[in-house]
Every structure is written in structure tokens, then in C-alpha cells.
């Protein structure tokens, strides 16, 4: 089976709100042009297209169909969609190349979180019989998870603020980031609670955005870019949707996905953690030590475009290989409430 490599990645600026449509076309057209320019490919060269988005962000049925205009989908194309973060669309595209059905694929994700009330809309991800009818907002549920760790001594409010401060400092080097800059941990801890025990800095900002990533078989990739980022492992797992059954201070699905891969020698990890404490849960689940550089992009605490943020983690991890700054990186994506579903991938220099 052919190896699969990332050959191009681009993302729209992460912003609090855009005046554009919920179908993302305005955000997608420029970044498609960017990856085509970088790889020398054109739309006629793409064998398979796959996207991730959600009708619930748009408030419209089949909203992802309109986004297909940004592709230029005539004559007809080979296309699919997942109602999840586009990292799972990447998994589908990876399979298509592994099976030898195509040798290039373009994956994109988009979301206009600002169109509705995000933390309320996300309540609809939960069990529709006994949880969603209560409208538990996503921030409150994450707060319950954070308190479990705080009160059992797994982490402190200061630990969480340190994650936020480091993320914002790192985001200074990321032109797409929504939040960046130097902040003092003590200053963050002086801020009032937004959803006790969470403060604003513990919560990823509401973000409109989009991302696109181009995959190619390793053979094809070598002709397209100098140092393709080969996906040497990719796994995803899911935990029970029943929140009260899980130990919310752990992420067994992330750990299981990580165990299926060879994580030795990982230099950089891009973790999809929409809340500060979730970064600590993920580091623990993956056994990432202090030698691993976490989220040099700033991570989703500095910009969290729903349904493309996980794909962007894979893109950022690939960029470290593409730009020659690392030889082995890890990417993690999550979808659903409080780290329910998790995908882990390793990327390496083409040998």
C-alpha cells in the first residue's frame, strides 16, 4: 500500500467573526489558491475531495454543498463530507490513497462559529434523550471536567494559566492566530471566572476559519515538494458518549490511539485542546515528556475554528517537516464534547 504524505497546508486567518457566508466560500477560495500555488497542482490534478463541517454551525440543511462551489466542481468531482472535524475527512482521504484509488486528495474544513451561539449549539452533540434536552453548554461541561482534576490534585489553576500564557506567547509566530502576546500568569489568575472554575484564558476563543491540506502518495509527493511530511501512523478512537460513566480526567481513546503508533522520537506535538486542562489530559494520555515541544503554533487556545481546528493541527505538524525544522511530529485532533473522539497521527521526513 502506498504511503501518504502531506504536501501543502493553508489556513484562513482565525478571527472572531467574518461578514461572510456560513458556507465558507469566501474563506476557502483564497486558501485553495495558496495550496495550488505551493504544490503546483491545479484542481484537475486532485483525485479526491473531502471536507468536514457542520450544519448546526450554519443553521442550514446540507450547508456543505454550497462550499463545493469553491472547489469548482464542474465537471463532476469525486467528493465526500464528514459531519466532524476535517481531521476525520483527512482520514477518509488517507484511506482512498492507501487503497490505491487515487494518488492525490484535497481535504478542507470550515466553520462560521460566530453565526450562532457556539456553546449552546454544541449542546446538540450530546445524547439526545437525557443530556441535550437540558442544553448543557460546552463551556460548563468542560468546567465540570476541569474541577475534577483541580480537586483531585492533578492540576492547579496556575498550571492552567501557564498553558494559556505559553500558548499565547507561541502564537506570536503564527500569522493566522486570533490571540497572541505576552501575558503574566499572575495577571491571568486575577481575572474573574467565566464558568467557575474556568476563566476566559482557559477557554478557546470563538473563531471563524477554514483550513485546507493536500495529500499525495509518497511517490507523487516527492515530485511536488522538497520534503513531504509522510503520515507514518494514524489512528482514531472514541470514548463513551455517557459523560457520567467516563473518568473525565483521562482520555482513554487518545491513549489507545497513541498506543497503536510509534511515538518514540517525536519532537513536536500539535494537540487539539480547546480548554487549558485538556492539554494536560492529552499530554498524559500520549505520554509526552518535557522534551516534546507542544503547540509551537499556539494551538487552539489562540484560535479555534470549529471543524477545521483539528485538521489545522495536522497541517501545523506537517509544516514542521515541510520547512525542515523537525524530523518527526505528532498531530492530535478531537471532535465531540470533552474529548470524546480523538485522532492521533505521526508525521516524518520521507526516507
Amino acid at each position: 500500500m502506498p504511503d501518504v504524505a502531506v504536501v501543502g497546508f493553508a489556513q484562513a486567518p482565525n478571527v472572531r467573526s467574518t461578514p461572510g457566508t456560513t458556507n465558507g466560500v469566501e474563506m476557502l477560495v483564497p486558501i485553495f489558491a495558496e495550496v495550488f500555488e505551493r504544490t503546483g497542482l491545479s484542481k484537475e490534478d486532485i483525485g479526491f475531495w473531502c471536507s468536514g463541517s457542520s450544519d448546526y454551525l450554519a443553521g442550514r440543511a446540507f450547508s456543505f454543498i454550497a462550499a463545493v462551489d469553491a472547489i469548482g466542481a464542474f465537471p463532476p468531482i469525486h467528493e465526500s463530507h464528514v459531519e466532524m472535524d476535517a481531521a476525520w475527512a483527512l482520514y477518509e482521504a488517507w484511506l482512498k490513497i492507501r487503497m490505491g484509488e487515487v494518488d492525490t486528495a484535497l481535504v478542507y474544513g470550515f466553520g462560521k462559529s460566530s453565526a450562532g451561539q457556539l456553546r449552546r449549539v454544541l449542546a446538540l452533540q450530546m445524547d439526545p434523550y437525557v443530556v441535550a434536552p437540558l442544553w448543557p453548554d460546552s463551556v460548563s461541561v468542560a468546567g465540570i471536567q476541569a474541577r475534577l482534576g483541580l480537586e483531585s490534585g492533578l492540576w492547579s489553576e496556575k498550571d492552567l494559566a501557564e498553558v494559556a500564557a505559553r500558548s499565547r506567547a507561541d502564537a506570536a509566530g503564527n500569522p493566522a492566530a486570533q490571540l497572541s502576546g505576552t501575558v503574566e500568569v499572575a495577571e491571568l489568575l486575577d481575572a474573574p471566572y467565566f464558568a467557575d472554575p474556568l476563566r476566559a484564558h482557559d477557554i478557546a476563543p470563538i473563531t471563524d476559519g477554514a483550513a485546507v491540506l493536500v495529500l499525495a502518495s509518497a511517490e507523487r509527493a516527492a515530485d511536488l515538494v522538497d520534503s513531504p511530511a509522510v503520515i507514518t501512523g494514524i489512528e482514531h478512537r472514541v470514548d463513551s458518549p455517557a459523560l457520567g460513566v467516563r473518568d473525565l480526567t483521562k482520555s482513554p481513546s487518545t491513549a489507545a490511539a497513541g498506543r497503536a503508533l510509534d511515538l518514540d522520537g517525536v519532537e513536536v506535538a500539535e494537540l487539539h485542546a480547546p480548554f487549558t486542562h485538556q492539554e494536560l489530559i492529552l499530554r498524559d494520555a500520549l505520554g509526552l515528556g518535557d522534551q516534546v515541544r507542544i503547540n509551537p503554533s499556539g494551538g487552539v487556545l489562540t484560535g479555534n475554528p470549529m471543524f477545521s481546528a483539528g485538521l489545522a493541527r495536522i497541517g501545523e505538524a506537517a509544516n514542521r517537516i515541510l520547512d525542515g525544522s523537525a524530523r518527526k511530529t505528532l498531530a492530535h485532533a478531537t471532535s465531540g464534547p470533552v474529548l470524546q473522539q480523538n485522532l492521533v497521527a505521526t508525521l516524518e521526513v520521507l526516507s
Binding site: N23, V68, G72, P128, L134, W135, V139, R147, L148
Partner: protein, 342 residues
Amino acid sequence: MSCLAGKSRTCFTRNVSAPELPLSAPLNVGFDYTRSVGPVLGRFVNALRERRVEGVRGSDGRVHVPPLEYDPVTAEALSEFVPVASEGVIVSWSWIAEPVDGQPLSRPFAWALIRLDGADSSILHAVDAGSPASVHTGQRVRIRWADETVGHIRDIAYFVPVDGPDTEATEAPPPVAKREEGAPVSVVITPIHLRYEHSASPEESRYLRGLAEGKLIGQRCPSCEKVYIPPRGACPTDGIPTTDEVELPDTGIVTTFCIVNVPFLGQKIKPPYVAAYILLDGADIAFLHLVLGCDAADVRMGMRVRAAWKPRDEWWTSLENIGHFEPTGEPDAPYESFAHHL
């Protein structure tokens, strides 16, 4: 999350945006999710209706409340029901200072995971505790039942501290599930209402503002030169924004059509009537509109039609300004001239 197909009911209101920005307007989506409960959740909601709580025993012996249909570890179907108490202990909590629509309380409250006495897993629900200072992990709480129970998770209105008084409910219970009088609840209804600010694209906004002035504005793809009306965010052939503006006449042809014979909820015209694809002269894409002003049986492919505009004082940023299209009486367009648009 699954897609919203077939479940949305939308309500657009008139727009008041500044002219240079794309048009936007509130979009309110609402629907009632009607779900059958099956044997496990059915037993749970029917017990709630009688102000009792039942859990289910998992294959490892743990009792799960709310009950799970399948064991989270072994995926085995579960069926051993276990009554549990309506009192329990807070396992973890967070505070919501500004509740959002639809939540159990509209005053500040705690969200909590609560382990009921006799259960091993916990239920997510609201606790009416007044302030974050009066809630803590390990606190004992009890169910504050809804004044009327219907067989729904919201029969548990919320929880209160075990020694505290019952407080006033702030959210109405959901609609009563459909059932025969006295019969067990087999269906639960959950109303879903979402509010959005919907935005048109810059190209659509130009088109809609043109309609308010009685103009039909299309846009041409700079690459393939096709003219789209309404204009699209990107040309579906080339994937680039349509840029050059083209004002089109209000005459065109019927490319294809159907005769609507079926009455349906919300229908504005008495059947039979014709819904047709209208291709305006100079356009490369047809749009859907009505053809009236002749017998439905006389409508045909290639028929020349003209817009019947409503009175000018009724115009706004909508294609509704054209009430319908009607035949001009000119000779039909030859099939070959529009075959490539079908």
C-alpha cells in the same frame, strides 16, 4: 452531529444592514425532535413520570443512571433495572453565571455531575444553589421534580440542596409526549430552537439590493464567461469568484417545469400550478419560479416568459418582488438553444 436535512423551519426577517456590508438577517430554526424511546430509556422516562429513578446494571456490576442501552465496556445489551434514590452527591460542578436559552433554570445555577444513592455513574443536571459559594463537591442534593411529569428527562426540573426548600421552576416543561391516556410513554418530544445571524455573500448581496430597485443583476465568471443569476460566491466550474456585473432583462424561457398537483402545509397558491426553471435571456443558469397567467397544461419547454412584478411599493431585497412569470406569446425557443442548460 447529523445534518439538519428535512427538519428545519426558517423565518427570515427584513434586513437593515449598512449598504457596504453583505446583507445579513436573523435566521431562526426550530423543530421538535420526536424520538421513540425503546425498552431501556422507555423504562427510565416512564419511571420519571411516576417520580422514581431507575438505573441499569452494567456487565461489571456497576449501576448506571441515566441507564445505558449497551454496556460502555463490553457493548453487551443491558436489561437489569435497579431502582435508585432521588437523592445523591455532587461529583463535580461548574457555575453558569449567565444561563442560555432552554437550560433548566434562567437564574445563575450550577451544572453538576450527580451520583444518586445506589448508582455508580453520575447524571448531568442543574443544581439551584443560589451562588457558587453554596455549592461544593460532595454536597448532598435531591431531585426537585417538575410540577407536572410527562415522561421526559425534564421531569427532573433540577436538583436542590437536600435540606433546602423547593424553589420555583423557571423553564416550562417540554410538550407532553404523544400517548394514549394512561399508556406508557413510547415517544419523547424535545423542542429545538436555534438562532443565527445569516449572511449573504457579497455577490448575493449585490443581487438582492438590485432586486429592491427592480434590477436583475447577474455576475460573469472572469474565466469561463458564464453568467450566473443569482450570482455565486464562486463559479462552480472554475472555483473563482464571479466578478463582472451584468444586468439582465426580465424575459427568458422555461427550460423545464413541473405541475404541482399536491396540496401541502404553507402552500400559497391553489394547485394545479407550474413551478418552472426560468433561464433569463443572457444568463447561463436557470432559477426556480412560478409560471402563471395561462393554463398549467399549456406550459412547455422553450416557452417565452416575462416577469410579472409586484407593485413597486412592495419591493424589497427579495426575488418575491417578481410575483410570477407569464407567457409573452412570442414563438418558443428551439430546443437546441437551451438543451445544454438542462
